[in-house]
Amino acid sequence: MEGTDTYLIRPNHQHKFKAAIVKECIREIVRERLSGMRYDPEEVPELSRSLADCIKDKVKNAGFDRYKLVVQVVIGEQRGQGVKMSSRCLWDADTDNYAEDVFMNDSLVCVVAVFGSYYY
């Protein structure tokens, strides 16, 4: 993908990174994989890694051509502590976008953020 030159400096409106679609993708996968799960410190590293890979593949297949993707998954235990996550990006606001979703149950909290950046 990266090698071919299209000389397009802006994606077609149809090809733009659509946050709503990506948010749906994230939601489906997270709800399916994490409903009823408890926070287990042995399993969590593997779980978060596989969740990130799964979401990355799903978003790739959703057909956002020429977009570089960064998927970040954060899974935390629910123990009454305070947590805050925030992000800022230095990019081209016309072409780049992000989608995020938060899932909570009694024993864990999962935040997923997907960033899409157009490769000129």
Binding site: L51, V70, K84, W91
Partner: protein, 106 residues
């Protein structure tokens, strides 16, 4: 012209920014919002001052120390030869701060 950015360079810039923004403070729920924003904005402005041809994504997580566990993972679809990421962990007696920087070349 050196187009690439090393991880060490990025880590150094980030550590400085975190120290400047929240160093020496104890966890306070009312100020956390302001802290995460200032950490992230400081990092981003220092990174943009480096003047490299990169788009940056900076995320910051601040968590109170209370014995709970936290795990972060990321998966990226990019060009391995030119793009990279860097994670910096910082802590003090009452909180943890994890900053992730992703650099995507133009």
């Amino acid at each position: 012209m050196d187009e690439y950015q090393t991880e060490d360079e990025t880590a150094f810039v980030v550590e400085e920014s975190v120290e400047a923004a929240i160093g020496g403070n104890a966890y306070q729920h009312s100020r956390v919002n302001q802290w995460t924003t200032s950490v992230v904005e400081q990092c981003l402005s220092q990174l943009s001052k480096l003047g490299k041809p990169f788009k940056y994504i900076v995320t910051c997580i601040i968590m109170q120390k209370n014995g709970a566990g936290l795990q972060t993972a990321s998966a990226c679809f990019w060009d391995n030869t030119t793009d990279g990421s860097c994670a910096v962990r910082w802590e003090n007696k009452s909180m943890y701060c994890i900053v992730n920087v992703f650099g995507l070349s133009i």
